[in-house]
């Protein structure tokens, strides 16, 4: 299976804080890779490096075989069109309605001018995330779970090949977390995406992961399926599953 994302020897410091010490990660086409770790261990920094939002101090990041660290803004923008990023907060444009939020990437990124196509795609993705009928709502009228769904809808509307999820279930109740996790799986099936999911929610990891990577103290310490890692004899790895 073709490698879609390859991280090799990624290092990143913020001032004196060494956030990433040695991150190596390979994500193959169509895989859902869950990255888990305690808070402040560099999980979010890792996917922000993949998206080109943070430049690492050392190491190589290849996405679709292109070196991200060598890209200028225009090349990064072209790459990001093939990539979707779900932020922890949803990051909805709060001065725009749901309809305008969904139309934004279509008009400004894909340069679609046909209003009928924009409307049809908006309705389609809202149906896909279970938010039919919310088109004319403002983000402030949506609940936490709805905001996540809406953020997901805005991300998948451009049909990305890669999905990066930053803590998709944080701050949600158990039932909604399970629904969002199921949604991540259904998006993978429907849109054939390759995904990296950052989380510390083991229930979400269990539902969504084809493979898991554990980051601790800026280093990848384990790599395997949920079942393999769950039965690990290593105390630190085992502690994530308790």
């Amino acid at each position: 299976m073709e490698n879609i994302i390859e991280l090799a020897g990624i290092k990143k410091s913020f001032g004196t804080l060494e956030e990433l010490k040695e991150i190596n990660l390979v994500v193959k086409k169509g895989e859902n890779v869950v990255v888990i770790g305690k808070s402040g261990q560099g999980k979010s920094v890792t996917i922000k490096c993949i998206a080109g939002m943070i430049v690492p101090d050392a190491g190589s990041i290849k996405v679709f075989n292109n070196e991200v660290t060598d890209m200028d803004e225009d090349a990064l923008r072209a790459l990001r069109i093939r990539m979707g990023f779900l932020f922890q907060s949803g990051a909805l444009y709060d001065s725009m309605t749901v309809r305008e939020n969904l139309a934004f990437p279509l008009r400004r990124v894909l340069k679609i001018k046909d209003e009928e196509e924009i409307e049809a795609r908006s309705v389609e993705v809202l149906d896909a995330v279970g938010l039919s009928g919310a088109l004319d709502k403002m983000p402030a009228e949506l609940s936490g779970g709805m905001r996540k769904r809406m953020g997901l809808a805005r991300t998948i509307i451009v049909k990305p090949e890669i999905m990066l999820y930053d803590e998709p279930t944080t701050g949600l109740d158990t039932i909604t977390s399970r629904e969002i996790s199921a949604l991540i799986c259904s998006i993978k099936e429907k849109y054939k995406t390759t995904s990296v999911i950052i989380t510390h929610d083991m229930a979400c990891a269990k539902i969504t992961a084809d493979r898991m990577v554990i980051i601790n103290d800026g280093i990848c310490i384990a790599n395997g399926t949920y079942g393999e890692l769950e039965h690990s004899t290593d105390k630190l790895i085992g502690s994530f599953f308790k």
Binding site: M53, R77, F87, Y93, P105, V109, V158
Partner: protein
């Protein structure tokens, strides 16, 4: 000594950041795909949202300036010079500077707070990571809208100051509207107008640029939104006063001499 060098380093870093932000603005200014709808929306918010306070301030400026100068000039029997004196003062200096300072308070702080909260809630990051161009969409449109609207608002303020002057002169005495406005516009020459108008474009740029820069570079955290708004007003006001001082020196030596 160490504290001094650290402060100098920070200052140089800030100057460097502003230079890079300016470069990003210029680079995106000439990129295809200009956001006309967002530009027009910003022109509407900046222009329509500020015109009321600018009109009121302009009117009061002209009114007060007339009432304050009238008694002194009356002592010399020179009260007929009041309209010309007011018009020259307003057009050359008071109108542009006061309008710009009001706009710094209203527009720069508004832009700083809006972009600051977008930054804090990761909306700008979301825009960037979706492949959209946040500098072109948010920064270029706002700076150009300020560049266009501040000169127009200044002209509105100047006009209202003339009306305020007319009201003021008729409170303390009497002068027909025909005579007043003939004296007002008769006292003005082209050399009074164009340096003032050029100056207002710089003021507009400062207001837009500082507001966008402060908002775009606000650190994470809700407190930084307030700080971005606050520091945008302070920095824009200082910038306006410095540019005005330079403009006065330049026009004094190049135009009025």
């Amino acid at each position: 000594m160490a504290a001094d060098s650290s402060a100098i380093k920070k200052l140089l870093e800030k100057i460097g950041e502003q230079g890079l932000f300016f470069k990003a603005f210029v680079r995106n200014l000439f990129k295809p795909g200009f956001e006309w709808s967002e530009f027009l929306r910003q022109c509407y918010f900046i222009g329509y949202g500020t015109v009321g306070i600018v009109m009121l301030t302009g009117f009061i400026l002209g009114f007060v300036l007339t009432l304050q100068s009238l008694p002194t000039l009356q002592q010399f029997g020179a009260q007929t010079f009041v309209p010309a004196m007011v018009s020259v003062s307003v057009v050359r200096e008071i109108g542009p500077v006061i309008t710009a300072l009001i706009c710094a308070g209203k527009i720069a702080s508004g832009i700083g707070a809006e972009l600051g909260s977008m930054k804090v809630s990761e909306q700008i990051d979301a825009m960037q990571v979706s492949g959209a161009n946040p500098v072109q969409y948010l920064v270029v449109t706002r700076i150009l809208a300020c560049l266009l609207m501040i000169p127009l608002l200044t002209m509105v303020a100047d006009g209202m100051a003339f009306l305020g002057g007319f009201t003021g002169i008729n409170v303390k005495g009497g002068m027909s509207s025909i005579l007043y406005f003939r004296k007002t516009f008769g006292g003005l020459s082209f050399t009074d107008l164009y340096p003032a108008i050029i100056k207002t474009f710089f003021f507009g740029f400062i207001i837009g640029f500082v507001g966008c820069y402060k908002g775009f570079n606000s650190n994470k955290g809700t407190e930084s939104v307030g700080l971005a708004a606050n520091s945008a007003v302070v920095a824009a006001s200082i910038g306006i006063i410095i540019v005005d001082a330079v403009a006065v020196q330049l026009t004094s030596s190049l135009v009025y001499n």
